[in-house]
Symmetry: C2
Subunit: 370 residues, 2 copies
């Protein structure tokens, strides 16, 4: 397979081939086969959904973390607390991509038994996209929930330091004939990926989304990379920045202190080398929280799914704001991207292709296999 | 007691007197005594916390709803579903101020038994401030959660109609020596109360917070009242408006379709007479969801509380953004207001005092009693 990246139109790769490649990389890094396949599955789902910042663009970083011994490839997750509706897992400093699916399945199983259940994970690492977990219960009449805290990039309202993560939240609600409603959002105004894109194309950031290293609002992506910070969803106080701060706080408190994981500014950076590790190093990893609500514990699942159908149609038929095509449904962009990417293959950015190319050469993985 | 409202400085009323007055109004409206006292307690907690839009300013509206027979004063809430961690309550079209505390206590009790528990309520009405419920478990080593859907005021992203409520979320986390972290926030960019205040003082709204009746962003409060709408938290798409829409959606789906309550544009307006009831009238009331996590199911409660202390101190000592006094903690404004209001009495707006005055005359409640 030709991995040169100067060609236009963009190069597209079959999703399955990319998964095989990623699994092979994890395998070479010492991750057992079943886990390597699982990790590749989660990672490549980000590319499938068009969330390219969280997919193969990060494979090199995961690889580096494993090679540097910062992440345990043969982690054995261990239950540390167990009550009817709550389980706590020590992830043994393994890949979040491996432990998180296990934790999420536990939450789903328990939810069927008790009505709703929660599994929190500490001593873990990045778990990919939160939405991957939330959607797993869609065909089991579950409402799925996932959240995680992440390394500090975001200032609290009125603060001038990176103190909180972009701390995503995901929820998925099954419909009947309509597609499911899938929320997957970070709690900062914009993502790190949005800053990177603006920087590459040399455009301004939207107002109220980032600040320079003094905490002064800025439109320049370069200010962010020179020690600046993202702002919470809502931006300034008068437009609701305190609410974004509250959301980031609640994800951090649920995933960090409640789970027994690191929190706020004490979460180690990702990937290695972008920043120094926080002092004192915390050693409890990042934390996740998975939840599932069994719909039948609340109402008739068929009625519920039909009502979600009506909800979806009601939002779609809301008169459009002038200059727009009208409302879409949470999950639409990712589903449209996934349909296209499964059909036509995933188009990767040249830099990512180069990264994968180098990784393949380094690990002696034959590219023609994928 | 002199209730004329031209005096300066603002008139202040002892909190306990206001509670007695509100309870007396509910009692005269046919609400049983225990329930009337409970309803007054929730309602006046809003005034105590300085959230004046949700306190006695609404007593007239609750009264009107009861008198008009739209709300059942002698409702008998009934459990319709019961599994170990989930209970569903039919509120029998009673006051949310009465049923919600019952539902919240059930969630708290079950959480101690199973680790985490959820109680959803349908066929209910407005429950006051969400934060009231979330804080009830603070001295029981619980993390409390409350949310409700509300009448439509907010457009979905790219929409030009009031389709979703301001749909608040509340969470409360106990600390040890520091005050608790209490999140209580609507999921719109600004509240209806903020528009009312801007209108009274004839000032502009912040950018990205409201639209006129065509869905075009506006700074004029009058545009909102002339059929306009609030915008979701985050404002436009590029500054995160899709995230505010997602948050409003998830609260609506959890409290409406999942609980079996009305949802989105089909929720009846509050108070009576502000708008026409939606067609078709739905008849399932609004929905609430209460949750409680038992901290001991996740980690050692003392360690958790001490970690929250550290979290609070870390946020407070984040360097301040230039021109600000630095970060505060979710719950600070309400706690400061409450300390002041308990000490000095609650200062009510002249219009509210006039309303209460008229209500007292109408119901023959002797003002000197409070």
């Amino acid at each position: 397979m030709d991995l040169t990246f100067s060609a236009t139109p963009p190069l597209r790769f079959p999703l399955q081939d990319l998964k095989l490649f990623a699994a092979e990389v994890f395998l070479r890094d010492g991750v057992p086969q079943v886990d390597a396949v699982q990790a590749a599955e989660v990672l490549c789902t980000a590319d499938e959904w068009g969330i390219r910042s969280h997919g193969l663009a990060r494979l090199r970083a995961y690889h580096d973390s494993l090679v540097a011994g910062r992440v345990n490839p043969v982690a054995k997750p261990r239950i540390t607390r167990d009550s009817p509706s709550v389980i706590v897992l020590d992830a043994d400093n393994g890949l979040g991509l491996v432990t998180a699916p296990v934790a999420n399945r536990m939450a789903m199983e328990r939810a069927h038994a008790t009505g709703a259940a929660w599994v929190s994970v500490f001593n873990s690492n990045h778990f990919g996209i939160a939405g991957y977990y939330a959607v797993q219960g869609l065909d089991q009449d579950l409402v799925g929930m996932a959240m995680t805290n992440t390394p500090p990039l975001v200032a609290p309202l009125w603060g001038a330091r990176r103190t909180l993560g972009t701390n995503p939240i995901a929820f998925a609600f099954p419909a009947d004939k309509e597609p499911p409603v899938v929320v997957d959002m970070s709690t900062s105004a914009i993502s790190l990926g949005a800053v990177e894109v603006a920087s590459r194309v040399d455009s301004d950031l939207p107002a109220g989304c980032a600040a320079n290293n003094f905490g002064q609002p800025t439109l320049a992506p370069s200010d962010f990379f020179a020690g600046g910070m993202l702002l919470p969803l809502g931006g300034a106080r008068e437009s609701g920045g305190h609410k974004g701060y509250c959301l980031a706080a609640l994800v951090d408190l649920l995933c960090g202190p409640l789970a027994g994981a690191a929190w706020g500014p004490f979460i180690a950076p990702f990937p290695i080398g972008r920043d120094k590790p926080p002092e004192p190093a915390d050693g409890k990893g990042i934390g996740h929280l998975f939840g599932a609500y069994s719909i039948s514990a609340f109402s008739d699942p068929r009625t519920f799914r039909q009502t979600v159908d009506e909800w979806v149609r009601t939002m779609r038929t809301t008169p459009p704001q002038p200059g727009s095509d009208g409302p879409i449904i949470p999950g639409d962009p990712e589903r449209f991207a996934a349909e296209q990417n499964r059909r036509r293959g995933v188009d990767l950015e040249p830099k990512v292709i180069m990264d994968l190319n180098h990784l393949g050469i380094q690990l002696d993985i034959q590219f023609h296999r994928f």
